[in-house]
């Protein structure tokens, strides 16, 4: 039988394995990293307070539910501005300046397009691409059907295609 997460070691391992994805989830919604980290820590405090009642297998679902609820209680940002660390610019020595410039422009347009996605699509899309989660896992975390996740992914990709057609 599964016990709760009251044992320090168990609780810590849940934190180490889930905290980043929970934080990212809120970040995709708000674009506010400080807020995302605060809420994540609050959600873990709640988990700790309820450690005897939450089974280990249910801990992640509990965290998503709680952090989402905490987020909804906060004042919402009107515009989401996501900041990424860009790994590009490596192995670019052999490429022409024009090419690099074009790539940069493309990337900027792409980042703006991601921010402009409806929240539902943005979350699913980034959980898949940044957190490298499978559709099935996203569906479990968000309490959706796999089909619903796939639809959101499709719509996100459809919307992002417009970066190829400069206005």
């Amino acid at each position: 039988m599964s016990k709760g997460v009251c044992e320090e070691k168990v609780f810590q391992s849940v934190f180490m394995s889930c905290a980043t994805e929970v934080r990212n989830f809120i970040y995709y919604k708000s674009g506010d990293m400080a807020q995302a980290e605060d809420l994540t820590q609050d959600a873990f405090s709640k988990l700790w307070q309820n450690c005897a009642k939450v089974e280990l297998e249910k801990a992640k679902g509990f965290l998503y539910t709680i952090v989402n609820r905490l987020f909804l209680n906060q004042i919402q940002h009107d515009k989401v501005k996501l900041k990424f660390i860009n790994q590009q610019d490596r192995n670019r020595l052999s490429e022409s300046p024009e090419f690099i410039l074009e790539e940069k422009e493309f990337k900027n347009r792409l980042e703006s397009a991601i921010q402009a996605l409806p929240e539902n699509q943005r979350i699913v899309f980034l959980m898949n691409r940044i957190d490298k989660k499978k559709y099935r896992e996203i569906a479990e975390d968000l309490g959706l059907s796999v089909k619903a996740v796939e639809k959101r992914m499709h719509n996100a990709l459809q919307a992002l295609r417009k970066v190829h057609h400069k206005v």
């Binding site: 691409r129 559709y135 639809k151």
Partner: protein, 298 residues
Amino acid sequence: MDQETLFARWLSGELEPAERQELQDSGTSAELEQIIQHVDELELMPYNLEQAYQSHVLTRTPQKLQAGKSRRLWLVAAAASVAILIGSIFLLQVNTADIVKAPYADQVNHSFEDGTITKLNAGSTISYAAGSWNENRELSLEGEAYFDVRPGASFRVNTPHGHVQVLGTSFNVKSRDNHLEVECYSGKVEVEHGGQKVILAKGRAVSIVDGQFSGLEQITNEAPYWTTGVSRFRSEPLRDVFSEMERQFDVQISTADLDRHFSGAFSHRDLNQALDQVCKPMKLQYELTETNQVIISK
């Protein structure tokens, strides 16, 4: 097939051959591929899990321990660093306690057999069993000392107010009056009072005043200030500030107004300068007699 999920299935490689062919022919796959290739180069700021966990652990510990009565304080800190020493072999050693003392107006460096270094602040004493040091790295501290601990077995500092257990690091322990302060400069340190434990990571400090843990504080210094010729205080009673000045300059200071708190620093170079640094901001007068007595008045 299912057009509503077409691109999602393209991305996860679940398309029927006919669908895949169609996307390829229309040039759509190429467009999508370019998008994915760029998106996959994006990353988010890493989450500092260690630090988040520790500040989290601290905030939730109070409820853990209300059960035990914590009247008096006290501390434990410890640290370890990074070299492996081949210990010499001692066949028979008499177990005597070694005492190292830093008198007033002096700071004393001391190294242990295993390479661990300690620096004692003025008016501080450590004692330990030199003969069995390699088997049992444990010492008692009265006053304040900085430790740079060699990695190895556990390392423990006992004070009248609590114990510090080293997890591998350099750290400062200040245990004066009813006040314990621990700063961690590298590695990790565990501070324990009653049943409550706090693990300090690098760049963190915690204090226990009257049996209560304060919140974690961020520090930017890489060694205690007193080792660089300055004593620094964060909102500490004037009483403690002048006690520290007595230790640094080996003088006697008498004063009336001791309950206010002082935040700031004084230099160890010159007594007059040090008195100015504390008295001016606190609007106090001082008088220095020939016999090294200092009288503070409003």
